[in-house]
Symmetry: C2
């Protein structure tokens, strides 16, 4: 059996190597690649994807997994037991999808991506519509490969949140929606906060230096990573010892680039904290997209937008930009970076409105897959829902239904993870604060070591050994639930807006 | 047959995609990779190499090549005819080498590389000796797979100079050696030139701006490439539209980084000029290492160290570094950058001594493979030969036998290409100047377009369709020969040193 296990690890290791190589090519494409290299890069990534899929679904891996599944492991949570258990699930799932579907999906989304970009330029949804129709049809077909299911959305969601069911997500969101809508109403009835001082000129060079100082203090390991610029910030892991982040700076916004760096550093520290004992296995990644987002949002919001954090950092920030901030007090600054304002673009949304953007998308995705709305009716549906949740209507589709890259990339099933990540971040945060009562004081002193250490031990080290619900249960004692997040929002914003 | 050809192109295209992916990983490793990523990167490159070798030697490719070889092509120089002809040679060669040898060689050179570095640190050849012994033994074994051969060195040389025989190289070098040794004696008997002004402080930022201006004017296409810093400058092609170069700047040397950029741009413009009709095939690369070197050395030396070039550029260079050059005349500068001085390190050698370094290494490589000297006797043999050729003896082995990375990397057979490249560059140069009589005037005006256009049409566009001797014959009317280079050296240095 030891021999079979070694062979399995070798074969899975090769799959991981190929995925890591593709990640390097993707990173380069978004950071340094000259424009002339695009076509060639597409071919290389296509070939890597094809070979990776072939290797990951090779019959030999299936045989080995079957053989090893028959073994009784003394500790079902051991690395080896989990490798086999999770490996079998992944293999079974991947094997149900024919190569022809994989190839067609790759082709349709590649073309769809281009169509989406053109569609955005003229804010003309009709150009993207036929492509999105194909993508939805392919995603419906994808779900069919996993029949029987409770819900057509389940197989898609499972790709990002292993084990989680659509009904669970809907139940969680139902408890959350009205609370958030009511909160926004309460806030809008109060005097609004001022953040004009954030919209002055903030030199990129100084933003960069400040942001690097912050994430260094957080604990981002520069020996095992680096930060570059990219149009759309992201984090990517190439495997053990190389987890990179990207950011972008807006010179007319003092905070946007900084929060982006904190966010990506949160993702990256998660990957940097996975146990080396599971390196080069499929478990050497985050447990799920939502757990990943819980880490990025924790560092960005629970730490980065807290009064404690700025008690330490505001004097330094003020010193870096005296021309903008000399006359702005800490409290004014704190309120400014936490300003609530219903807006059209999800990625720029504040904490109070963010989840509503996500819920809107989940409703749409489910309706599309169920067939209860048609792609052609999407813009109207979108605008109707925006009005219902946020009380605003976008001027055009580029600021509305065309804003996100996900659907053109075929990523249906991904959106809920953004909101779930917020919820989980608070469940963890309450537990952390119970375990480390002095944490607020530590943050006020610019000390994040104990926080990171807690996250390392409780969350990061496990990688993807456990499914997200299981992991949240193990760490916090309950499954994913919205109450801590609702408590947090109410407390934070009632203080800021005085209601 | 058309179907078989399409299938062959598809399979070879995948091999090229994998090679391109590995090139991206290698480039990143030498430019941006954080130190923590080294182990993982090694695994990824190992897996890519293995899969690439498996794909390139797949029986299906052999079948298709055999089938297609039976076809009579109307034009034996057409892309398709050459694809099949060259493909069969590559396939046959690769198939003769067992995977076990490939794996052992990869392992031995990986360990050898580390041992070489340690050996250099303490200038202790004995630490590297057992590794080099293994490498030589493996290279002898490699040659055996290609029996019968005229010379044991032939199969190794053929990897870098397809079709070229050891006896041909030896004949070429025999005519060259005495001429170069005599030239150096003539130079050393004359008053020496001064280049102290080059060894002052030259700010990196200004060097960079100047170098970029030069290679832009040469015709390096930045839409299809970029330049970054690396400890050891190199050029790498990822395929159509993405050919990158690297350089390094020495702040106490005003010329080193600049000539390095010109050299690499020469390599890169070659790759950028290959016909798109053969993209994603094994012909989408240079014809050989020597042809490649003929391009880099041409731009670096025949253009970059010429009086014509500096007639145009020296005023600009002087303006960039007035603190160093205000009182240095064009003629003094020209002599300074062409100073001849026998030195220990090949990569820093001037044009008059460079080839002697290469001949020394060829003698050693042949002697090692033939078994006429033993690895343990290498340091003494090296020093003896350095004295004979250049009249100097290195103080230690780091400055002597341990200076180059090639042997630890298993690259035996590569060195002669450096000298052959110099010779070819002059054969081409004489032909170019015959075809474009106004070229010196054009260069004096900073105009390189017609030169590049000539190279594109005569050399670059063909990629690796023709073997090097064949290509040189087609373009210049004769095979590789040292006479033009000897003429060039004599004329240039008799003018500079006045003999």
């Amino acid at each position: 059996m030891e021999k079979a296990l070694q062979e399995l690890k070798k074969l899975l290791g090769e799959v991981m190597d190929l995925q890591g190589a593709a990640a390097v090519l993707n990173w380069d494409q978004q950071t340094f690649m000259p424009s002339g290299g695009a076509e060639t890069r597409g071919e290389q990534l296509g070939t890597l994807a094809k070979i990776t899929h072939d290797k990951a679904t090779s019959p030999r891996i299936g045989e080995l997994l079957e053989k090893l599944t028959a073994v009784g492991y003394t500790d079902p949570d051991s690395d080896d037991a989990r490798l086999v258990r999770n490996g079998l699930k992944d293999f079974t799932k991947a094997s149900k999808v024919p190569s022809s579907w994989v190839a067609e999906f790759a082709q349709v989304t590649a073309v769809g991506q281009e169509a989406w970009e053109k569609s955005r330029e003229g804010s003309d949804f009709s150009k993207f519509q036929p492509h999105l129709e194909k993508i939805v049809r392919l995603r419906q077909q994808y779900a069919e490969y996993f029949k029987p299911y409770d819900h057509v959305y389940d197989p898609l969601l499972d790709d990002f949140e292993p084990g989680l069911k659509t009904r669970e997500v809907q139940a969680i969101f139902t408890g959350l929606r009205d609370e958030q809508v009511n909160l926004i109403k309460a806030i809008s009835s109060r005097p609004q906060v001022d953040d004009a001082f954030l919209k002055r000129q903030y030199k990129e060079e100084k933003q960069k230096a400040f942001g690097e100082d912050v994430i260094t203090r957080f604990g981002y390991d520069w020996n095992c990573g680096r930060q570059d610029k990219a149009a759309h910030p992201f984090t990517t892991s190439f495997g053990l010892g190389d987890v990179r982040i990207t950011t972008r700076y807006l010179e007319d916004d003092g905070a946007s680039g900084l929060f982006s760096s904190m966010h990506e550093a949160g993702h990256a520290m998660y990957e940097q904290g996975i146990s080396p004992t599971i390196k080069r296995t499929p478990m050497f990644t985050g447990a799920s997209s939502a757990i990943h987002e819980s880490q990025s949002r924790m560092w960005e919001n629970l730490v980065g937008r807290s009064h404690e954090f700025w008690t330490f950092y505001y004097p330094k920030f003020q010193a870096a930009f005296p021309e903008n901030l000399a006359n702005v007090s800490l409290d004014t600054f704190y309120k400014g970076i936490n300003k609530v304002q219903p807006s059209f673009i999800r990625v720029e949304a504040d904490e109070a409105t963010y989840n509503l953007h996500v819920m809107l998308r989940l409703e749409i995705e489910i309706a599309l897959l169920e067939g209860s709305i048609l792609v052609k009716d999407l813009p109207a549906f979108w605008n109707h829902k925006m009005q219902e949740y946020l009380g605003i209507t976008p001027k055009n589709d580029t600021k509305g239904v065309l804003q996100d890259v996900h659907w053109s990339a075929g990523l249906i099933g991904y959106f809920p993870t953004y909101a779930l990540g917020n919820l989980i971040s608070l469940q963890l945060w309450e537990k952390i604060n119970a375990d480390i009562p002095s944490l607020p004081d530590q943050i006020r002193s610019g000390n994040f070591a104990e926080l990171l250490d807690w996250l390392r031990k409780k969350v990061h080290t496990h990688g993807a050994k456990f499914e997200p619900q299981d992991l949240v249960q193990r760490v916090t004692g309950s499954k994913i639930t919205p109450e801590p997040y609702i408590r947090y929002l109410k407390k934070k914003y009632s203080e800021i807006y005085g209601f």
